[in-house]
Amino acid sequence: MGEYLIKNGFVFDPVQGINGDKSDVALKDGKIVETTALSSGATVIDASGMTVMAGGVDIHSHVAGAKVDVGRLLRPEDKLFKSPKKTGKVSRVEMGYSVPTTFKTGYDYTRMGYSFVMEAAMPPLEAPHTHEEMRDTPIIDMAAMPVYGNNWFMLEYLKNGEIENNAAYSAWLMTATKGFAIKVVNPGGTEAWGWGLNCTTIHDPVPYFDITPAEIIKGLIETNEYLRLPHSIHLHPNNLGNPGNYETTLETLRLAEGYSPKSDFGREQVLHNTHLQFHSYGGDSWGNFESKAKEVMDYVNQQKNLTIDLGCVTLDETTTMTADGPFEHHLNGLNHLKWANTDVELETAAGVVPYVYGKNVKVCDIQWAIGLEIALFAKDMMRTFLTTDHPNAGPFFRYPRIIKWLMSKQSRDELLHSFKWADRVIAATNLESIDREMTFNEIAQMTRAGPAKALGIAHMYGSLKPGMNGNVAVYNINPEHMPADPDEIEKAFLRAAYVFKDGVMVSRDGEILATPPKLALWVNAKVPENAQVRRDIYEKFRKYYSVNLENYPVRDELAPNQRVIELDITA
């Protein structure tokens, strides 16, 4: 493995408090090292006039697994005239647009300077599928969050207030699926979808199980803190996508009051609310639909134990996919395009519907504005992360475009005023009156340092401190001479000049140069022996699952390069 000295770049590393200083970054043996540790043979990269950051960390993206693949299969048109031709020697063909193939996903994230991506929802029963796809996604390190919020074991344990049992089960499931964190999607509502129903408030009882979403969320926070997991619960709340849902969102967020994090991995939150854009809607119909980003962010700003990601709408044609089965059915009732659904026994569900966010559709434009407003109203960018809930609000390769909008008022105003219904959009949102323009340091917080901290992986990712994984992105943009044309910002972040992954130069100006082995991260939490839970697992598999318990846990060969995060709460 080579040694590299990245010289004279403008370095942004919020973790070390380096804010655009001209300095050098050194790479050796796959890690970031002190410049003095390099031998004289190190390759020198001249980064003068360029921006240097740690490799990007995506906290929430649907890139691998059953429903992602349904999205690919369902939409041949997502490939037609939209796939680039294969270039370079080491790469595979790159097909797809809103739901790219695993190869294209790995390459495009790499080209943007990302080195870690969290798969946002893994149905436990289909975990082997998720791991097969992660194995086939080149270069970027990954982990996946098993979906818990509608799991029958969990519903029964929490109904009875059995946090310890729920924790023992959760730890078992985490290990069995090689999962990373507790993902919660429309708690209770997706189980109700088993009967074609939903829970649209946090007080709707779940059919048969007779527990409310509020009880599930609190129970899972307690479970998560009992287990001291690296990440907090990762919540997609009830009532996604409906006008007026910001009240549900605020009520949901208030459930976290009084809880404090218990983890040795450095996170400060107990609840991560994902794709907040979809949950910050006012009005009571599509006619008077409006932004409530300010109201929601005023609350988030005060609460140190919350983190959020944006879920920015990018005004593209895309493919929506979520474990929120009832929502996809509802969405399908709005656009009448094709609809795929997969209910997963005892655990969850998933729906997939193509969606066109039209530039001249008022509601879509308001959604676009809300996503940006959430970032621009945020006070603490270490708790606010850039996502598009890929591919739901837009494809991940639009992150650079969102960075452009966040960094340049000019660029977002131009777009805003070009809308057919610009006046109505402006009236229903706050965006026009916001002057804030993000700094490079804030972008580094939102795309690197912040998500790494919230995920509990800040000891490996998100910073350029010596000892960190050797993941570095060098962008061809000069913070001291910002381009007059904001599009240059997008261009620079879309195709980094140089990208290093574990000390290997993997991409240069968008060309993939190498595909070194990538890691699958997962959490192995050791809990006290629990005979009751062991028996419950045995019984449920014997009676209700359609697969054999022996064949359920993900086998090691599906995750050839594992980085297991060991936890022992018995100690």
Partner: protein, 439 residues
């Protein structure tokens, strides 16, 4: 002491049962006894230990006989055929694991081949309907735990998926279905009085080839419209009765089979079946599922969707871009037009399944068969490379008909040290790279 292995996956039909118990000999080379499997699944396990298995590659000689050759030579020949061909076709995959499919995908991309699977002549029409209309479905455990109405439309699991009814749909007692079949209504729609029809509460003996009309009648009735006194050979009151049961279900599933995919209408039959399922979701909860034939024929659709974006008929002859256009890039159509100049038959039997003119065209060019067994394809090919039987001699991931991944086990060592599909394709790939370098 013989060893009992539990939780074994069965490499036969799309039900992919994984509760098989296999007793193997001391030395781990022979299958002695198989429990829980159906009669056919049972045979698949025993077949692997049958004397006379082919254990080394065979090359066709000028006199028409086969001569045994080494794997090394077979791999070299296969690699050369693929490198030299302008438009090779790699087809099959009904009976292998996802590891093999993935490795074959890499070879096909390198060779600039057309990559296709048995869905092309089977549930391919389902894919066409899914592309147009979606696929509201569920896993089989959902059916077991929730379904109180089951529709078998144009499918006959009693023969094709022998344990489907007992494991997933009609008979099992699930969480919300504690009464088992006593609590379920079974509707069978089939022009024949099949063994499945015999266990149904209602059998609608649709006129052959008129399924589309019957679906249309169901949709009309569901939306409150009126229908003629007789549709597709079924009296109006029978349709009203069945539609009423379906509308009142708490959870229903339509399992459909080849009768829709391969009778007049084909993808349109499946399309309207999906539309009916969507309609039913306006009233209650309904799902639909294709009765996929082989234990891992869902696999290539899954694996190649994540690798290439398409489930079948994958044309990589442009090399830097992939396209799919069934009819143009589907195996039988390519063969009928004699567009293919090399053929790899893997994990299926194109010799038995393809139309004779298609086989005649393919036979003009090099034909490689990769299969553990002697079959019609192996008997007419130029090169036969035997491989390990998946689910018996090697494990791996397979996708059940509901796209649930099942991790299959190996129960005995591969006979005579033969390679797995994955190993074989990886070696062919490496050899192709070497040939590239030499050139």
């Amino acid at each position: 002491m013989a060893k009992v292995i539990t939780g074994v996956g069965c490499p036969y039909c799309g039900a992919s049962c994984d509760d098989i118990e296999v007793t193997v000999s001391d030395d781990g080379t022979k299958v002695l006894e198989v429990k829980n499997a159906c009669a056919i699944g049972n045979q698949v396990f025993h077949h692997a230990s049958t004397p006379g298995r082919i254990t080394s590659p065979r090359l066709r000689q000028p006199d028409g006989t086969y001569k045994e050759i080494s794997y090394e030579e077979a791999i070299d020949r296969a690699a050369r055929i693929l490198v030299n061909a302008k438009k090779p076709l790699i087809y099959g995959f009904g009976s292998t694991n996802c590891e093999g499919m993935s490795a074959a995908g890499r070879v096909a991309e390198k060779a600039g081949a057309v990559l296709d699977n048995c869905a092309s002549i089977c549930h391919g029409s389902s894919f066409l309907a899914i592309f147009d209309n979606g696929y509201p479905s569920c896993t089989l455990g959902e059916v077991k735990n929730r379904a109180d109405v089951i529709v078998y439309w144009a499918s006959n699991p009693a023969h094709a998926h022998p344990r489907h009814m007992s494991r997933y749909s009609i008979f099992p007692r699930g969480f919300f279905t504690g009464k088992g079949h006593m609590g379920r209504k079974i509707i069978c729609i089939d022009p024949r009085v099949t063994d499945t029809a015999r266990v149904a509460d209602i059998h609608l003996q649709v006129q052959q080839g008129h399924d589309y009309e019957l679906f249309n009648a169901f949709r009309t009735v569901l939306h409150g419209g009126d229908i003629p006194d007789m549709v597709a050979g079924i009296p109006k009151e029978k349709i009203l009765e069945a539609a009423g049961i379906m509308k009142k279900a708490r959870f229903g599933t339509v399992f459909y089979g080849m009768g829709l995919c391969h009778s007049d209408g084909r993808n349109h039959n499946v399309d309207i079946a999906i539309s009916m399922t969507r309609d039913l979701n306006e009233f209650t909860k309904w799902t639909i599922m294709a009765m996929r034939g082989h234990y891992n024929i869902a696999g290539p659709g899954v694996v190649w969707s994540w690798q290439f974006g398409f489930p079948y008929c994958i044309d990589m002859t442009k090399r830097d871009l992939v396209h799919m256009n069934p009819g143009e890039t589907s195996s039988v159509d390519l063969a009928m037009r004699d567009e293919v100049d090399a053929f790899v038959n893997i994990g299926t039997d194109a010799g038995a399944h393809f139309p004779i003119p298609a086989v005649q065209h393919l036979k003009k060019h090099p034909w490689i068969t990769i299969d553990p067994n002697i079959c019609m394809a192996s008997e007419i090919s130029d090169l036969h490379i035997p491989v390990a039987v998946v689910g018996v001699e090697t494990g791996g991931v397979v996708y059940r008909m509901d796209n649930v991944p099942i991790q299959f086990k190996k129960v005995v060592e591969p006979a005579g040290g033969i390679l797995t599909d994955e190993e074989l394709f990886d070696k062919i790939y490496e050899r192709m790279c070497e040939l590239d370098q030499e050139a």
